[in-house]
């Protein structure tokens, strides 16, 4: 793998929160790979969607999108909600997440989600989100997660590429 490049100037630096979060998504290869978009942002709240795509299907018989896509989407949107709650944005890393699946996503339709960071501490952010097609009243899945705040602290670009010291 090539050396990691420093982030673009827009990453975590724009004054417009929506632009900042969109830059974060563009800078996250897996979020881009599932086609995730952020559509709206308020302090501590983020709305987004993943467009339906055949290559994300988990059950070829029904055409239902894979649970793993929902996991990735909800994890990412919860992370952005944690950052959207911060006065000075920094990195976050998921400590744990719990997803309840109420039903299968409808084949052929975009999956929407909204996330709310309901508590931002100095070290930990707590976030919940719901995924749906039309309304949060008819959810596909719910997630609750905890994030470590400032997770890159003290770690340099490419820290994971270096061998551990003996």
């Amino acid at each position: 793998m090539s050396d990691p490049k420093p982030p673009p100037a827009s990453y975590a630096s724009s004054d417009d929160p929506l632009e900042r979060v969109r830059a974060m998504i563009q800078f996250t290869p897996q979020a881009k790979a599932i086609g995730m978009e952020v559509t709206r942002i308020e302090p501590a709240r983020v709305w987004g969607l993943v467009p339906y795509r055949a290559e994300l299907v988990g059950d070829p018989e029904t055409g239902v999108i894979a649970g793993g896509v929902i996991t990735t989407f909800l994890d990412t949107i919860c992370g952005t909600a944690a950052v959207a709650a911060m006065e000075h944005p920094t990195t976050v890393a998921t400590i744990d997440l719990r997803i309840d699946y109420m039903r299968a996503a409808e084949p052929g339709r975009d999956v929407l989600a909204e996330a709310h960071c309901y508590k931002l501490g100095r070290s930990i952010a707590f976030v919940r989100a719901v995924a749906y097609e039309d309304s949060a009243d008819n959810p596909i899945a719910n997630v609750a997660c905890a994030f470590m705040v400032n997770s890159n602290a003290g770690r340099k670009f490419g820290a994971n590429l270096r061998k551990k010291k003996p």
């Binding site: 290869p29 897996q30 881009k32 988990g58 999108i65 894979a66 996991t71 039903r103």
Partner: protein, 143 residues
Amino acid sequence: MSDTPQHRVAAALERIPYARFLGLRAELKGDELTLIMPFSQHLVGNPLLPALHGGVVGALMEVTALTQLAIASKSERFPKTIDIGIDYLRSGKPVDTFARARVVKIGRRVANVQAEAWQGERSQPIATLHGHFMTPETDEPAA
């Protein structure tokens, strides 16, 4: 590949579009399944470290749990997920990742499965998962 029910499940896994999207490969020894997710740039979630996206590590463990449960319950269909809990223990490095699952209990309607993912050393898991799934063949809605 020999044509046992276990091997048919492993082959079915490789026909799932999302499993191909992740690049998953299945290895089966007896009835124990190991899934391998070779590193690929599109799996990255934190490009600075760089680290794998937590979502794909979770997805790897969920697919492993679903497939191991299908094998254990002698079903050729993948079960439905009711809920999963994922603990992230270490950041996923830009290398190949492995996962295995243990079916703790198959109840009449609900099955309990645990899974873990590791990279260099099995004793140093990067994440663990526990989940509840509809026992295959029951196929009643979760709600």
